[in-house]
Symmetry: C2
Subunit: 130 residues, 2 copies
């Protein structure tokens, strides 16, 4: 970034050069984490609510992604010793610091989709800016 001295042959260097983006992607990447984070950013949710709300996710994947986010200290899992059992998930303080990043990604993604749809509609099969 500042200078590209490629004398260091470590992948660690590559990650530093990638400006922390790789670290962010390691936490929020994957198919389902955006959906989970987007929902929890609005507040606490129960397991069943997440499962019902995120259309198409399997229980296996939901649990796996929640466990990863918990391990990464982005969310917390609160178990209520009741019958029937109840488990709530919420963002940690660290998780809430993601908001500017999530907003930026959401904004650009929406803009990008509109742009792609427009160019597709206008030029149909022809890509004239290539």
């Amino acid at each position: 970034m500042r200078k590209e001295t490629s004398t260091n042959a470590l992948n660690e260097k590559m990650m530093i050069d990638s400006c922390g983006m790789s670290s962010s992607l390691a936490v929020i990447g994957g198919r389902w984490k955006p959906a989970i984070l987007c929902r929890l950013s609005y507040g606490t949710m129960r397991y069943g609510e997440l499962k019902k709300d995120i259309i198409g996710i399997s229980e296996r994947m939901l649990v796996a992604q929640l466990r990863e986010l918990e391990k990464d200290q982005i969310i917390t899992r609160v178990v209520f010793p009741e019958v029937p059992p109840r488990v709530e998930y919420r963002l940690t303080d660290l998780g809430r610091t993601m908001k500017p990043m999530l907003d930026a990604m959401s904004d650009w993604g929406n803009m990008y989709r509109k742009h792609i749809n427009q160019t597709q509609d206008l030029s149909a099969t022809v890509l004239q800016d290539k």
Copy 2:
């Protein structure tokens, strides 16, 4: 955004709920695209420069990622009809609109890594904010 559409027609709803994040991740996600985008955000680069600079990437993956970014209209590939051949890659106007998002991701990722390293150093085996 690209490849999920075939299996489940309801995924469209999920992606809208995910606030465009999925669209962004479809474009910038993956192991090598952060490294490529980060470098091209500083200006034009030749194929060989990218290959030399991004430690550990195989030619196969470099070409594949560049082709995807080109298809997504994020970068352009400029071929100079010279001997020896020369090919330059640069961001498109659309690609340059990613900067706020890339910066936000970079900033959060760097902050996150510092945070994780600190809590590891300080609390060792104990996680007290759980």
